[in-house]
Amino acid sequence: MARRFDAGYYFSEGFHSIFTHGFMSFAAVCMIVACLLIMGSFSLVAVNLNDMLGDLEDENQLAVYIDDSYTEEQARALEEELKAVPNVTNMTFVTRAEALDTYQQSHNNVELFEDLPDDVFRDRYYVHIADIAQMAQTKANLEQVEGVGDVVAAVEIAEGFVLVRNIATGVALVLVGILLVISLFIIANTIKLATFYRREEIAIMKLCGATDGFIQWPFVVEGLILGLTGALVAFFVQWGLYQLVGKVIIQGNGLSLVTMIGYTTLIPTILPVFCGVGALIGVGGSLLAIRKFLQV
């Protein structure tokens, strides 16, 4: 009788085992759902925060003012040199005349500004950068370019954004880590209970010459099913919660200060992540529970 991987047998054994201690399985699924929901909710807040920060980052640009003594042509000629500065993605050139125009439009009711000469303003570039964490360094590099009179950048605001994002990501990671460990132990306990229920059968299997692999597969399947069930339930509950929170935010958010990413656009990420994490804690918990006991 050859060694075979009898998937049908493992699945059937693992599946039935779930119902022999139904309450514990139910409790394990509930705990996985709770853990995934907390993890998912926190991650969704972080993702949305990141998205909003991303929008703000896009608006966060540096103004590079060209030296007064440069003509418009000379100022335009600096574009290549400025583009060569690391971290710079793109830029728009604005002439003095355009700058004056914009200024007057934004103060169109104030007569005082109406006959300002355009040489009050300087030619300038509005520069976008790739990584706002390096804004200060980029600002310094831009200032080094000959012909640049002044660079104005909200470095403090940029650093503030980076700090908020880093803290949010850090807290999310720590929380997710803790919850993963908790879930892992809950699954491990469920599987330990399953092995306790079946200790007689396991002893007989061992004496008949069953390999450790053969004995542990049904428990791995059981953990996997519990993990995936928890993941699916959590996925749908998360969906409902997200829609609910979205509705509340839209109602109380006349100014549209807060924007939310649609859940459906997040499904291709959320579903695999939930299933992956569910499967991981399910299988991990099973292996944790039976590893020690198989060394008999």
């Binding site: 009788m1 069953a210 053969f214």
Partner: protein, 229 residues
Amino acid sequence: MIRLIDVYKEYDNGTKALKGVNMRIDDGEFVFLVGPSGSGKSTVIKLITAEIAPTEGRLMVNGYNLNNISPRQVPYMRRTLGIVFQDFRLIQKKTVYENLSFAMRAIGASSRELRRRIPYVLQLVGLEQKADRYPGQLSGGEQQRVAIARALVNNPSMIIADEPTGNLDPQRSLEIMMLLERINELGTTMLVVTHEKNLVNRFDKRVVAIENGRIISDKTGGYYNGEKI
């Protein structure tokens, strides 16, 4: 074939269970291992089934050297043995047929092999009519027959029966022993651990007597020969 060469076993609590045991059981033999409780009989069984390792001495079981067997090999060594216990150790929530298929599944047998082998073994132990019964619906003697069938179902080269008649009345005990004798005649080596001298004396077999961790007698026929061996 089983060989124990100068085997010592001392448990962690300091109990010296075996003190230099030498024993050889050849293929096809029928051997009674007798002795009072605490004499070391169970330790011999546990050593042979690789549940424990000897403190000293050499141990060979059906071609496996248990002194340096790897944990991965242990299941394959155990497949050469069939084990029968005093308390039957049947799974109560499985039928007779399921108890046997469970043992065959455990070593990766296919459904086809199950269908071919189980009816044959059940017929051998005289339980072909009771395949769908649960252990709780059977008498003690019948339950032990199921246990023997389970030990036999994977076609081991040797059966080890640890006090197989301990829970049975004299008539059932005799029937079980006759069944084991018949299985032995079909080619399976048999090692029967018991302390029932009346039963042992009815069969003219090799008897190994162990007492206080040492083999004190090894001869054919009879447990007690007039006086204590």
